[in-house]
């Protein structure tokens, strides 16, 4: 009994310390306060984007297809055999960033977001602060179709050509991959790292060096455009909490006011796919952990039980 009391004291002080340095301290560090010092609690929007105008008209995919040339002046749609007019490096030189290929756009982005984005890109992407009048900068995406019907038609077309199911990597590439590299997933802003073979006499790999040079130039344009190079996402899933990632992707300004990161407008499903990819590259041991954990814990439960029997065999005669 006395030992249990001592154990309770030890556990009590351990837990107090733990609570203080972990949950409590992290809450204090990351909480957001308004001007009056009151805590702001972020309310998750479940990727519904309630601030955007609801789409009231029904899109017509055929009509969207008829006017898709309004998009393909800058964007490629590879799945429909439409090449982008400039390659990624040249686009980055011209716009700062490569306009995305639209093949998978309908599958990863939210429909309402896309319609609003076509009608009013900077507002919808929450980047108006970067492209204020007099800043001398213009957002590469112009207002192509300010009326809801045309926008809805284009989105209906994009949805009609989008695959039903994207792999986590495809979702990541479509939503994040033009600005963020993921070196553990062998991904650069210009695509997968190619498999090359070094010259065995000089031990140099000119093909790889040329690719790296291209990536460096692209990143240079991108860094100028964004203000800094967007971070590599290899293990972002462990560097930030999942909750932060969700809120940040849903509404970047709410978590990091002034950030250059636009609201990309992924759908709930698109977000889950992206997170799945980030887990694949950043925390690949998770499934193994979950598989091995119960066995190891089971082992030590039995070990403790056997040790208790051994201890009793020795200690029962002592008093």
């Amino acid at each position: 009994m006395k030992e249990l009391k001592i154990l309770a004291v030890v556990i009590f002080f351990t837990l107090v310390t733990y609570y203080g340095v972990e949950p409590y301290a992290h809450h204090q560090m990351h909480k957001k306060v308004d001007a009056q010092g009151n805590e702001i609690v972020y309310e998750s929007q479940d990727f519904k984007y309630p601030d955007l105008k609801a789409v009231t008209v029904k899109g017509d995919a055929a009509a969207g297809k008829a006017m898709i040339s309004a998009c393909t002046g800058c964007h490629g749609i590879e799945s429909q055999k439409m090449q982008a007019p400039m390659d990624a490096s040249a686009s980055a030189g011209a716009y700062g960033v490569n306009p995305p290929d639209l093949s998978n756009a309908g599958a990863v982005f939210d429909e309402k977001f896309l319609v609003n984005f076509i009608m009013n890109p900077t507002h919808t992407a929450m980047v108006e602060h970067k492209f204020k009048e007099g800043s001398g900068k213009t957002y590469p995406m112009p207002v192509v179709a300010p009326d809801p019907q045309t926008a809805a038609n284009i989105v209906a077309y994009l949805k009609s050509i989008a695959p039903k199911e994207l792999t986590p990597k495809e979702a990541f590439v479509a939503a994040c991959g033009r600005c963020h590299a993921d070196r553990y997933g062998k991904w650069t802003q210009l695509g997968d790292v190619p498999k090359t073979k070094p010259n065995i006499t000089t031990h140099q790999d000119p093909e790889m060096l040329a690719f790296k040079m291209k990536v460096a130039n692209y990143q240079d344009s991108l860094a100028k455009y964004m203000g800094k190079l967007p971070p590599d996402l290899s293990i972002m899933i462990r560097a930030r909490s999942e909750e932060f990632m969700e809120h940040f992707i849903e509404n970047p300004q709410s978590q990091l006011p002034g950030t250059a990161m636009p609201r990309v407008g992924v759908s709930k499903e698109g977000f889950e796919k992206v997170v799945a990819y980030l887990e694949e590259t950043g925390d690949p041991s998770k499934p193994k952990r979950q598989a091995v954990g119960p066995w190891v814990l089971g082992f030590f439960f039995i070990f403790t039980l056997l040790a208790y029997l051994w201890k009793q065999a020795h200690w029962r005669d002592l008093h």
């Binding site: 001592i6 340095v21 560097a239 590259t281 403790t304 020795h314």
Partner: protein, 419 residues
């Protein structure tokens, strides 16, 4: 001149003639007497030894793939990519190593406070305390150098901040002979923490510090052998008399038990309970020991929003933080050194649980609560004036507690109770 009878090679007799294995066995385990009147807190020593063993084993596997290269996030990727996603069970060793490094300090603190509470640093046990405190300091160095190795943001900035403490702190004595104007650069081998810095901390972590720790562990065990382990009541036991009773089979009357197997059986049981907690943390709750900030690669051009040491350094960090740099450094050194002096600052001859020692009992619980307060305040953002104030008060309390210790123990009445 030794005498060697004919004996079967490697038989007990053969081994005993050459290595005195029977004597060793007797002296080190079967007739190493431990008081019977103990509780589970007496198992913390063996738990520490086991945890250290686990850290060594997991460290060996990590060392096979770790690359101490500060360029292009190479060290970072060797830990976070190669070990975590390529090496079979690499994640397992890393999580064990990270959680173990944290838990070893939890147990060290429990072990230390147990010693303070029961007065196990007096009456022949001074060297146990001193060698133990030596271990605490070397473990701290081991933990800090290990924290540099993943070369993440927290590694880099901890290295930067802690080495900067020594900027201008070197003494200008002997006509400047000891005055290093560039001491910090000398320490780092570079203007900032870089390749040279990582290389030398790697060496400290995987070789020098472990060697010192192993030596000190042997010393720590050695210091126990003659004064013996204390017991729950601080009772002075006649070990020879009690051991004779045990050997005569009068186990109920003997006040002692042999280390092996009786004491060990209890140790192993407590260890089992501890391992359940340990592996629960390894598999399901490791974030506390592997800070997310350190999953961003080191960036010399960007300080993380919040930097803080690992939890076990927080109390001494908080003693440093509220004061100006040099004053803080003095108090920091005071905090590290003063614990060493405990056996000499406690002027009372009483060896008894703190709760039976009047003022010292109050002193003990105040010290514990104060150190936990310092720990918590050490992590909270210093920009909040309330936390900063609580931290400062706790730091001053810590210093005051040690100043008053000799006085309150001097007037302490002798404790009766068990002989």
């Amino acid at each position: 001149m030794a005498h060697f009878d004919k004996a079967m090679p490697f038989s007990n007799k053969w081994m005993d003639q050459r290595l005195a294995v029977n004597t060793l066995q007797r002296v080190l385990s079967t007739e190493y007497w431990i008081p019977k009147n103990i509780n589970f807190l007496w198992a913390m020593g063996m738990i520490l030894a086991a945890t250290f063993g686990i850290l060594v084993v997991s460290g060996i596997f990590l060392l096979m793939y770790y690359v101490p290269d500060a360029s292009n996030a190479a060290a970072f990727d060797s830990v976070n990519y190669t070990i975590m996603s390529e090496v079979g069970y690499g994640w397992f060793w890393r999580h064990i190593h990270g959680v173990g490094a944290s838990l070893v300090f939890l147990i060290i603190y429990i072990h230390m406070f147990t010693g303070i509470y029961y007065g196990s640093y007096k009456r022949g046990r001074e060297l146990i305390w001193l060698s133990g405190m030596g271990l605490f300091i070397v473990f701290s160095a081991e933990a800090f150098s290990g924290y540099m190795l993943p070369w993440g943001q927290m590694s880099y900035w901890a290295g930067m901040v802690i080495t900067n403490l020594f900027e201008g702190a070197t003494p200008d004595v002997l006509g400047g002979a000891l005055n290093f104007p560039h001491f910090v650069e000398w320490l780092r081998g570079d203007y900032v923490p870089g390749q040279a810095f990582l290389g030398r901390f790697f060496m400290l972590h995987v070789l020098l510090m472990p060697l010192v720790i192993m030596g000190l562990i042997v010393l720590h065990f050695g210091t126990l052998r003659i004064p013996h382990v204390n017991n729950q009541d601080g009772e002075e036991i006649d070990f020879e008399e009690s051991a004779a009773l045990w050997k005569a089979g009068r186990k109920k009357e003997a006040k002692v038990i042999p280390f092996k197997p009786v004491f060990l059986s209890k140790d192993v049981f407590v260890m089992g309970v501890y391992f359940i907690l340990f592996f629960y943390l390894v598999f399901y709750h490791f974030e506390f020991a592997m800070d997310p900030v350190n999953f961003d690669p080191a960036d010399p051009l960007k300080t993380p929003t919040h930097i803080y040491p690992e939890w076990y350094f927080l109390w001494s960090y908080e003693i440093l933080r509220p004061f100006s740099k040099n004053v803080g450094l003095i108090w920091f050194a005071f905090a590290q050194g003063i614990l060493m002096a405990l056996p000499f600052l406690d002027r009372s001859p009483n060896v008894a649980p703190a709760n039976r020692r009047g003022l010292f009992g109050i002193w003990f619980w105040l010290l514990l609560i104060d150190m936990i307060t310092l720990t918590i305040m050490g992590k909270l953002p210093p920009t909040d004036p309330t936390f900063a104030m609580i931290g400062k008060v706790a730091a001053i309390t810590f210093i005051s507690l040690w100043v008053v210790l000799p006085f309150i123990t001097m007037i302490e009445k002798p404790v009766g109770g068990k002989k």
